[in-house]
């Protein structure tokens, strides 16, 4: 269980690729530096897409938590 305070939650469960990634990008653009965004996704592609985008866009992937039927991605807006 993560103890990190989440500022913005993007519930992208049920969305097809690349919906969850686009939801994250939108949240990062609207957020302020230092804020923590959680994306929940049932899309398998998110497992590769979200870490790849976070690295490319130079934000911080704080944690990836695999739940039974979905995955939670915790990202901190770094710049």
């Amino acid at each position: 269980m993560s103890s990190i305070q989440v500022d913005i939650l993007v519930d992208a469960r049920g969305m097809a690729c690349p919906g969850p990634l686009l939801g994250l990008i939108g949240a990062v653009r609207e957020g302020t530096v230092g804020e923590v965004i959680e994306v929940t996704s049932t899309d398998e592609g998110s497992k590769t897409d979200i870490p790849a985008w976070v690295a490319k866009a130079r934000h911080d992937l704080v944690e990836v938590i695999v739940e039974d039927s979905y995955t939670r991605f915790i990202i901190r807006k770094a710049r």
């Binding site: 097809a16 690349p18 990008i25 897409d49 866009a57």
Partner: protein, 139 residues
């Protein structure tokens, strides 16, 4: 000098499945900070007409009727965005230029007023190749 990786993509086919596949590639490239140059020709250009950009345009031959039905069902079930809306998202998050092929404009007797506003302008083939310093994808 822009030293980012680029993607040059030629849209030829005007069917919903191929345009959707192209839209996914383009939005992903834009998300990954690639500069994207799109040249729209032939049947794809017809799909970018201002009137009826959302109208169903069927699937490519290999999909068949069954494949087309699968695509329509999945769009409903997954709430997938229409390809034209994914193109708009790509333009919103990255540097994506959409140009109509000048020759196709002549063939179909089109002017910019006939095309969706997301099309940035008309381009000749030499200008496309001048900008195409990276990979080129033809769909």
């Amino acid at each position: 000098m822009d030293d980012r990786e680029s993607l040059s993509i030629v849209l030829f086919s005007g069917t919903d499945d191929r345009l959707s596949a192209a839209a996914i590639l383009i939005v992903g490239a834009a998300a990954m900070n690639r500069k994207v140059d799109i040249l729209v020709q032939y049947w794809a250009l017809d799909a970018f007409r201002k009137q009826g950009i959302h109208k169903p345009r069927g699937a490519s031959a290999e999909a068949g009727i069954e494949g087309w039905e699968i695509l329509q069902r999945s769009a409903e079930e997954l709430g997938t965005a229409h390809w034209s809306d994914i193109f708009l998202q790509a333009k919103d998050i990255g540097e994506v230029q959409i140009h109509a092929c000048s020759q196709s404009m002549d063939i179909f007797k089109l002017s910019m007023q006939d095309l969706d506003p997301m099309v940035d302008g008309v381009q000749g083939v030499a200008a496309f190749w001048a900008a195409a310093t990276g990979q080129v994808v033809f769909i």
